[in-house]
């Protein structure tokens, strides 16, 4: 920029020098005028051009500065015309050939106008827009100014002094004024130069150069003494160039630039439009996208919520792991099932939740995931509290876009209970199976087609053949050689329990024979159907066992029973006989005795005179014998009655009986002094009558065998021997030798002769019979001369020894 300006300066300087050196070279008048007028017209053109451009582009690029410049150049144009018209070259137009002061003044005003306005325009802010009003105002101002100036210069009474005539050279005042315009123009030029550099704007550079040239033109004018020489013309030409440059600048500013801007704007607009369209399209797409996206988002959210709800409310646990088998997600249910909080599980590998034994198995399953296999399997997991729970795992692997394994998700359901039940069931089945196998009974299970599904070992053992699964139930009887017991007829299959079971009937038969090589066994068969809930038969079960032994035993038992019955009948008969016998005895045996005794007595009585002592003695012995026999008969009868009669069971007071018996004895023999010691309150359960007989016998004996003792003592009491309650009757009488103890209770077996002690020897036998009927025991201890003690225990009902009914 500055270079151009400096160049302009240089040119000016050169021109100046040239003009200085030229001196007053007069030019041919006619040429001078032509050139001068031409230049002036051109100058006017350019000046008006400047104004014209500014005015015409006022709508688009008018700002204050350009307005001012435009107006100035309008004024300049007008002033230039006026100057021309008033110059020497235009005498017809009023241009004086002797006095150029009008044109000089016009020239002066012209130059000042340019200079000051241009200088002033420097300081106007750039690009301050003007309103239409301001434009109109400026126009009017210019018009007013022009009118004033014209009036001032041309009016005859003008205060402006006359300036020198044509060839007189310049007035020093004029020179000073001209100098002034030069300075102003120069300053303006600097100003614009500065703007130009600051803004890097060529326009302002052009203006600046124009002004420099304009200033130079002033210098030329000053150097031209006559104002119609070559220097003068050079000066005018220079000023013309200056005008032209300003015109260019204004053109730029007001026309080019705006058009450029417009063009740019249009381009911009076009771009913008295009951009806008793209943008709009984009926006629309975006909007569409957005709407779509929003819709999609909404749908997604809804679906997500749906899924989330599904995940969260699933009764199954959901467990997500990444490619390292680390937990990335567990739903609430899953966490609960293991007793953890969900956050406790996140990040931990799934293998941490199984016990060490199962870890290997789990890892195998996880490997399958990595190979893309989805599967369902059982796995025990350890809960937070250490409990083991069984879960059914349904796992699916997932892969990313590159086909790499990215983890898997599994559904888990708690089958601990089911597993426990299964285990329990299996255990119970095992037990059942073992039980079935161990049963001493053969079991076969047949399906509805008659095929055998199951048979235990015992079955084969009993049948002597393996249970063939393919033998139809119909052919069974033949195959296993089952016959009706005791015949050669094959067992009818309609009767066979397995067949009947399949028909829905439970049955039992025990008349089946199996002919095995070497033996015939009898079996008992139970059959029962197994039905479903609707009652349809699913299986038939038959259980059978070898009852040969049993049948044998049964036969034996029935034989025995028969024998027993016979025996029992015989016993009854015997008893009846005994009864009859006893009855007989009480009559028939006595009668002869009576006769013997009777007639013997009569003989003794009435034929004593014919009898000697020996005869009487013998008859007495006969009588004695009869009495004795009578006694024997009585005793025997008594004994047998003890055995035969029915017993009653009641509470018996032995102490009371003892006392009563002893009292009777004492009454019968009041002279005997016997000390009686009877323990009170001894009770037993049994037959009162029999116990009375017992006590009577024992106490009678004691009483009898004490008779020779001075201080006889008879005791009755109860004691404990070997933890057992034992009653005793003790006396200190004759006693007995222990070596004879076995003979004590034998009927009629006596240890003393009847001369010593009366008695038939039935007492103790009776006592024993009574005790045995009560189920007790009786024994004795004695010492000769010291006494005897008889012990007996109380029996229990039903425990009687040798009871006969």
């Amino acid at each position: 920029m500055w270079l151009v300006i400096l160049f302009a300066l240089a040119v000016s300087v050169i021109l100046g020098l040239l003009e200085y050196s030229l001196g007053p070279e007069t030019v041919d008048r006619r040429l001078f005028s032509t050139v001068h007028i031409t230049i002036e017209i051109l100058r006017v053109n350019f000046a008006f051009a400047v104004f014209g451009v500014v005015w015409l582009s006022r709508k688009y690029s008018m700002d204050r500065r350009s307005l001012v410049i435009g107006m100035a150049f309008l004024a300049v144009g007008v002033l230039t015309i006026l100057r021309l018209l008033t110059s020497q070259d235009m005498p017809s137009m009023g241009g004086a050939t002797e006095n150029v002061s009008h044109s000089l003044y016009f020239s002066l005003f012209l130059r000042y106008t340019i200079g000051t306005v241009m200088l002033g325009a420097v300081f106007i802010g750039r690009e301050i827009p003007v309103t239409a009003r301001q434009t109109r105002a400026a126009l009017w101002a210019t018009a007013v100014y022009l009118s004033l100036v014209t009036a001032m210069v041309l009016a005859p009474g003008s205060p402006l002094p006359d300036i020198q005539p044509v060839d007189a050279g310049l007035d020093p005042l004029l020179v000073e004024l001209e100098f002034g315009t030069m300075v102003v123009s120069f300053l303006a030029a600097i100003g614009y130069a500065r703007i130009a550099t600051r803004l890097h704007d060529m326009r302002y550079a052009l203006v600046s150069i124009g002004l420099i040239l304009f200033a130079q033109a002033g210098f030329a004018f000053m150097e031209s003494p006559t104002s119609n020489d070559a220097v003068f013309l050079i000066g005018r030409a220079t000023a013309l160039v200056g005008f032209f440059l300003v015109f260019l600048a204004i053109m730029q500013a007001s026309l080019h630039l705006p058009y450029l801007r417009l063009e740019r704007a249009i381009k911009d607009h076009k771009t913008t439009k295009a951009e806008a369209e793209t943008k709009t399209a984009e926006l629309r797409m975006l909007a569409q996208d957005l709407t779509e996206r929003r819709l999609v988002e909404a749908a997604l959210r809804k679906s997500e919520k749906g899924y989330r709800d599904l995940v969260e409310t699933a009764t199954e646990g959901i467990w997500r792991i990444d490619s390292d088998s680390k937990t990335t997600f567990v739903n609430l249910q899953m966490a609960d099932m293991l007793g953890y909080g969900a956050d406790e599980m996140i990040g931990r590998p799934i293998t941490e939740f199984v016990d060490p034994d199962s870890k290997g198995v789990l890892e195998q399953h996880l490997d399958l995931r990595k190979s893309g296999v989805k599967e369902r399997y059982d796995m025990p997991f350890i809960r937070k509290n250490g409990e083991k729970g069984y879960f059914l795992v349904s796992a699916t692997p997932s892969f990313d876009e590159l086909g790499e394994y990215s983890g898997s998700v599994a559904f888990l359901s708690d089958i601990t209970e089911r597993k426990q039940m299964e285990d329990a069931l299996r255990e119970s089945e095992r037990r059942l199976f073992r039980f079935l196998v161990d049963l001493p009974v053969g079991i076969v299970v047949s399906d509805t087609n008659g095929r055998y599904l199951f048979a235990n070992d015992k079955a084969a053992q009993i049948l002597g053949k393996d249970v063939e699964p393919n033998i139809e139930a119909d052919k069974t009887t033949g195959f296993y050689e089952a016959y009706i017991a005791g015949t050669d007829q094959l067992y009818p299959k309609e009767k066979a329990p397995i067949k009947r079971a399949l028909a829905g009937e439970a049955s039992m038969v025990d008349d089946v024979e199996i002919h095995k090589p070497g033996e015939i066994i009898q079996i008992e068969i139970w059959g029962a159907p197994v039905t479903d809930q609707e009652g349809n038969v699913l299986y038939g079960i038959a259980a059978f066992q070898d009852i040969t032994q049993r049948k044998e035993s049964e036969r034996l038992v029935s034989d025995l029973n028969r024998d027993l019955e016979v025996q029992a009948k015989r016993l009854v008969d015997i008893n009846k006989e005994l009864e009859a016998f006893s009855y007989s005895i009480s009559h028939d045996l006595r009668a002869p005795l009576r006769s013997i005794d009777g007639f013997s007595s009569i003989l003794l009585e009435h034929q004593s005179s014919q009898l000697d002592d020996k005869g009487k003695d013998y008859l007495n012995r006969v009588k004695l014998g009869c009495q004795r026999m009578g006694q024997l008969i009585d005793d025997m009868l008594k004994l047998s009655r003890i055995t035969r009669d029915e017993m009653t069971w009641e509470n018996v007071d032995l102490s009371e009986i003892a006392r009563s018996v002893l009292a009777d004895l004492k009454k019968a023999q009041p002279d005997r002094k016997v000390r009686l010691v009877v323990e009170d309150g001894i009770h037993v359960q049994g037959d009162e009558r029999l116990y009375r007989i017992l006590m009577t016998n024992l106490l009678d004996n004691a009483w009898k065998f004490c008779q020779k003792k001075q201080r006889a003592v008879i005791e009755f009491g109860v004691t404990t021997i070997n933890g057992e309650r034992v009653h005793f009757v003790k006396d200190n009488g004759a006693g007995f030798d222990m070596k004879n103890v076995d003979k004590l209770f034998v009927p009629f077996q006596r240890l003393h002769s009847s001369l010593e002690f009366a008695g038939t020897g039935i007492g103790l036998a009776t006592a024993q019979r009574i005790i045995h009927r009560h189920g007790g025991r009786i024994w004795a201890e004695g010492e000769v001369g010291k006494g005897a003690t008889f012990y007996f225990t109380e029996g229990r009902r039903g425990a009687s020894v040798g009871e006969t009914t």
């Binding site: 009855y583 009480s586 009559h587 028939d588 006769s595 009777g598």
Partner: protein, 144 residues
């Protein structure tokens, strides 16, 4: 003293002999009618059967009845006696060697006045007979 006859129903001849003897020993002078079995007894009492005996004899003052008889047993005779108006109130003493309680019960149930056991011992027998005679023929008020 009731002098009417005593009816002795007894099949054993020895026992008959002993009884007669005992009665004589005890100065019982009443006539003793003897029936050896049921038929004879019934005939004596009711005039049935063979009309060889004296049927117009006066009613017995006392019947000494043995139980073990051939054919009709003592209980049947007792029944007949008690069923017949003319003999219903007649004193019947069962004189038997049976000690069977059942016989005793049956005897009383059928209406015997007394039940006495014949002892084996003759001396005792004498006592029994005396007591019976004293009681039934002297002490006891008969129906005539």
């Amino acid at each position: 003293m009731d002098h009417r006859p005593i009816l002795l129903v007894e099949d054993n001849p020895d026992d008959v002999e002993l009884t007669l003897h005992a009665l004589k020993e005890n100065n019982v002078a009443n006539e003793v009618l003897i029936a050896h079995d049921g038929n004879e007894a019934l005939e004596i009492l009711f005039g049935e059967g063979v009309p060889s005996q004296k049927t117009s004899a006066p009613r017995p003052a006392l019947v000494l009845l043995d139980l073990k008889l051939p054919g009709t047993d003592g209980f049947d005779i007792l029944k007949r006696i008690r069923n017949n108006d003319s003999t219903r109130l007649m004193p019947v003493v069962i004189l038997t060697s049976s000690k069977e309680h059942s016989d005793l019960l049956k005897g009383y149930r059928l209406g015997a006045n007394s039940y006495v056991r014949k002892p084996v011992d003759y001396d005792h027998f004498l006592t029994v007979v005396r007591q019976l005679g004293t009681y039934w023929l002297t002490l006891n008020e008969p129906i005539t």
